[in-house]
């Protein structure tokens, strides 16, 4: 994606990250946790303009779950509640063993897309998501075997090296996701986003996540740079200072800004074409 393609009005793919696994209803009373709640949130996000939903699974009490069985319940609920939205499963999992990380890839049908972390990320004093090269290659191999489009999660500039390492093994177009926030994530600034985009090969597509207050400005910048955007309660609880958001409202705002900037919002069918995703609907 390039600025020229922005000027040409290439559609923008909006991804809704509906639930995550870090915080839950203790932090936001309307954060969807159960399969039924996530299905309803996915339907509302699709209606508001999301072409992709990024999914995590949880136990009944909101705690993290990685089993194929729990992901199956979530993905079934989402597929039942939505028309055509692209289903993307997370393979992320702070501290979770590699064997569990692959479980979300084994639902029936397999997800059309899945996240693939490109390197380590620390959380708090002792928690870390290691994402060794072995982990990356193991998950990537299984994604290729199952026809799942990987979204390469670039937590900081150094992870571009790992993304470039596997670039030749990816189906076109490579799809990278730049993540800005605290700790070991990329320091959030417009200049930093510009620098990361400048290092991409022209045929790559990119997406932007900004945590908390960085979600609105950095995703807006991505629209102008020809990139795609991810919004949702996994990354940001607030619509504006002091006002709790909903997934639907965050997607609707991203779609409204895109339209104002002359970027048509991609339907799920258009998004499959832009990102090279095989339909399983």
């Amino acid at each position: 994606m390039t600025y020229d393609e922005y000027l040409d009005g290439k559609p923008v793919v909006i991804t809704a990250a509906l639930t995550g696994g870090i915080q839950g209803k203790e932090a936001h009373p309307d954060l969807p946790e159960t399969p039924a709640e996530i299905g309803s949130a996915a339907a509302a996000a699709e209606e508001a303009g999301a072409a992709v939903v990024h999914l995590h699974a949880r136990r009944d009490n909101g705690e993290r779950a990685f089993s194929t069985e729990r992901f199956q319940a979530v993905t079934d609920a989402v597929r039942d509640a939505t028309d055509d939205v692209i289903v993307q499963h997370s393979t992320g999992g702070t501290a979770a063993p590699d064997a569990l990380r692959a479980e979300p890839l084994r639902t029936d049908p397999a997800p059309e897309m899945a996240s693939l972390d490109m390197g380590p990320m620390n959380r708090g004093r002792r928690l870390t998501s290691e994402n060794t090269r072995d982990t990356i290659d193991g998950l990537h191999t299984e994604m290729r075997e199952r026809g799942i489009k990987p979204e390469l999660e670039v937590f900081n500039n150094g992870h571009l090296n790992e993304a470039f390492r596997i670039l030749d093994d990816l189906d076109e177009p490579p799809y990278l996701n730049f993540i800005f926030g605290p700790g070991t994530l990329a320091p959030p600034s417009p200049a930093n986003l510009q620098r990361m985009v400048d290092q991409l090969p022209e045929h790559a597509e990119f997406n932007v996540i900004g945590f908390g207050p960085h979600q609105l400005p950095l995703t807006t910048q991505s629209l102008i740079l020809g990139g795609h955007v991810r919004v949702g309660l996994e990354d940001n609880s607030y619509l504006r200072k002091g006002e709790l958001a909903t997934n639907e409202a965050l997607v609707a705002r991203a779609a409204r800004i895109a339209e104002e900037l002359g970027r048509p919002v991609a339907t799920p069918t258009e998004a499959r074409d832009v990102l090279g995703v095989e339909s399983r609907r």
């Binding site: 696994g21 870090i22 915080q23 839950g24 209803k25 203790e26 932090a27 009373p29 949880r58 009944d60 009490n61 909101g62 705690e63 993290r64 702070t94 501290a95 979770a96 063993p97 959380r123 708090g124 004093r125 002792r126 928690l127």
Partner: protein, 64 residues
């Protein structure tokens, strides 16, 4: 095994939940889902070595 400070509650007096959630009796607050994995000693995690709240309550320094 689980952290001795872990409890599962449906209410903290202000909020009600359908399913009992992880609650820390040191901070008197519900626990983030990702932190509940430490409380429950999942994936090789352990409150005594990995939980800031547990260690501060026990008076443990990080170099101990």
């Amino acid at each position: 095994m689980a952290c001795p400070h872990l409890d599962y509650r449906e209410s903290d007096g202000d909020r009600e939940f359908d399913t009992a959630r992880a609650f820390c009796t040191v901070t008197d607050e519900f626990v983030q889902p990702v932190h509940a994995d430490i409380c429950n000693e999942r994936y090789g995690l352990d409150p005594e070595s990995d939980c800031e709240i547990f260690r501060e309550d026990a008076g443990l320094d990080w170099d101990e």
